[in-house]
Amino acid sequence: MAVIEHHDTAAGSGEVYLSEASPRDFFELLKPRVMSLVVFTAFAGLVVAPGTINPFIGAIAILCIAVGAGASGALNMWYDADIDAVMTRTATRPIPSGRIRPQEALAFGLTLSAFSVCILGLAVNWLSAGLLAFTIFFYAVIYTMWLKRSTPQNIVIGGAAGAFPPMIGWACVTGGVSIESVVLFLITFLWTPAHFWALALFKMRDYEAVGVPMLPNVAGEWTTKVQILVYAILTAVIAVVPTVLGFASIGYGLFAAALGLGFVWYSVGVLRMPEGDRAMVPAKKLFAFSIVYLFAVFSGLMVDHLIASFGWV
């Protein structure tokens, strides 16, 4: 038995709404796959940063960054429910499929945002908490509400939101922002367009259907392919900069350079893809490789730092 409040009834209809959402549905709002990338890069920032952090505090920092990223994902799903319902890739998400109401997702996202920022501030430091708050704001408001539906450069500028986590991890340990953490930021920032436009190429008809101005729909396939190659080259270059600046070894530099060549190679494959190719196999291959690439670069940085820390070389 349950007590009925007035807000449980739809206006005028007399119908009673009672949620059948499971904890799994709420977890899905957090975009777990995106969260795993955020957790990994934030952890890399935490490991690579000079200095030490108590392991428990470090774990809490990662948890807060993960929850903050998840909260921005929930806010994104709340705002984008209308277009999510139309696109095949997103139609089964909790809100368009009717498992969670938009206002539930909004409340969930706002609550988790507030908790993750406050706990990070209290447990670690307020600079990292401020960066996390800005990241959530940037993704939910600047990217989702403003850029995504207004400019084909949406993913370039919006990519900053996904690039902040290693900088936050760094700030958790050092209490500051430095050129090294900016380089960690730039690796993900410059990687995002090539990664996302590869997806946009083979999902361009989905984006076209909902009127989201993704680059392939607005500027055409060729321009997108050229820009993918440009960003892949920039990513390959910036990934070697840790060695140039001296906070990673030559071994890491060679590893990152080899990965970068692979990234550029796959981008050239996309460039040579025939116009109007429906299967878009090279774009799918680039998308898959880009995920491996980012994980490998940050793994390389962490392994390199651990080897240097323990004096194994």
């Binding site: 009925i4 499971s22 904890p23």
Partner: protein, 46 residues
């Protein structure tokens, strides 16, 4: 006071949400306990 009877499916999902919320609250208690211990021990060491 107006009441209604819940279906089995609604009861099951509500139970699931309550358990999840309980686990989260317990996790927060443990988290703040650990943070307090770490901060205090750090303060004493300093």
């Amino acid at each position: 006071m107006e009441t209604i009877n819940l279906t089995e499916s609604q009861k099951k999902s509500r139970r699931g949400r309550n358990i999840a919320l309980g686990i989260v609250l317990l996790g927060l208690v443990v988290l703040f306990y650990i943070v307090t211990l770490v901060k205090f021990s750090g303060g004493m060491a300093g």
